[in-house]
């Protein structure tokens, strides 16, 4: 299993979530975060924004579904401008459902 952490634009959140739901991946956790990237924030005239608002999506998927989920996220979150976000993938060894105690997703 893989943990996907996707940092996306807040205005694209609903697009991404509905696209994932359409692709049969309804389980998502989101957190509203502030961050900056390689560009060190945003310069708009005299005003410098050090940290920009983003949405962080957490998802755990099976290894075989990883490519499909990545394609859905990158298609739906893309605008082509700086600040579209990043996706990080890490390994998950075990997953448990609290209600039933089952392992796996």
């Amino acid at each position: 299993m893989k943990l996907i952490r996707a940092i996306i634009r807040p205005e694209k959140e609903q697009d991404v979530v509905l696209a994932l739901e359409g692709a049969d991946f309804p389980s998502i956790t989101k957190a509203h975060v502030f961050g900056r990237g390689k560009q060190k924030g945003l310069q708009v005239g005299p005003v410098h924004y050090d940290m920009l608002a983003k949405v962080l999506l957490f998802m755990v998927v099976e290894d075989s579904d990883l490519e499909k989920v990545m394609a859905v996220i990158s298609d739906s979150a893309k605008t082509g401008f700086i600040g579209d976000g990043k996706v990080f993938v890490s390994d998950v060894e075990e997953a448990y459902t609290v209600r039933t105690g089952e392992t796996g997703l």
């Binding site: 309804p26 389980s27 956790t29 957190a31 890490s90 060894e93 075990e94 609290v98 209600r99």
Partner: protein, 140 residues
């Protein structure tokens, strides 16, 4: 070293933290997050019994509007799209993972949907900023 991420109900956080303290897990980070699981959100049947379970009927016009029939008129498929949850995030090295998982499950099991999930991730390295210690020493 393993990182444990547990997504649990907000009202169970203090109880879980106390139970974790008893078995020796003292350092925990708590995030307040929103999430949805395999059910894809929730409908307001507990709050509003008039709410039909079938999604097709949600957009129907009701003669006496209820809070959930108003919520159902949005583009979202379920009136409660995001459920507030808390994410406990911590790294353990000396406490067995199985014991931690069992403790979290014992406290959080209510038998209803939405109890949450626990994920176990491998951690390669850790660093304590104050002293510069790395590895297992940084966690204990």
């Amino acid at each position: 070293m393993k990182e444990i991420m547990a997504i649990i109900r907000g009202q169970k956080v203090n109880e879980t933290l106390e139970a974790l303290y008893e078995i020796g897990v003292v350092s925990v980070t708590v995030h307040s997050v929103n999430g949805r699981g395999r059910q894809g959100g929730s409908i307001m049947e507990n709050i509003d019994p008039e709410m039909p379970k079938d999604i097709e009927y949600v957009s129907k016009i009701y003669t006496s509007p209820t809070p959930s029939s108003m919520a159902g008129s949005s583009a979202l498929t379920k009136p409660i799209f995001w459920m507030p949850k808390n994410l406990l995030d911590f790294v353990v090295s000396d406490v067995p993972v199985k014991k931690v998982v069992d403790t979290i499950m014992k406290v959080n099991s209510t038998g209803k949907h939405g109890d949450g999930k626990i994920f176990v991730l491998p951690i390669r390295d850790a660093l304590r900023i104050r002293t510069g210690e790395t590895g297992e020493k940084a966690i204990i």
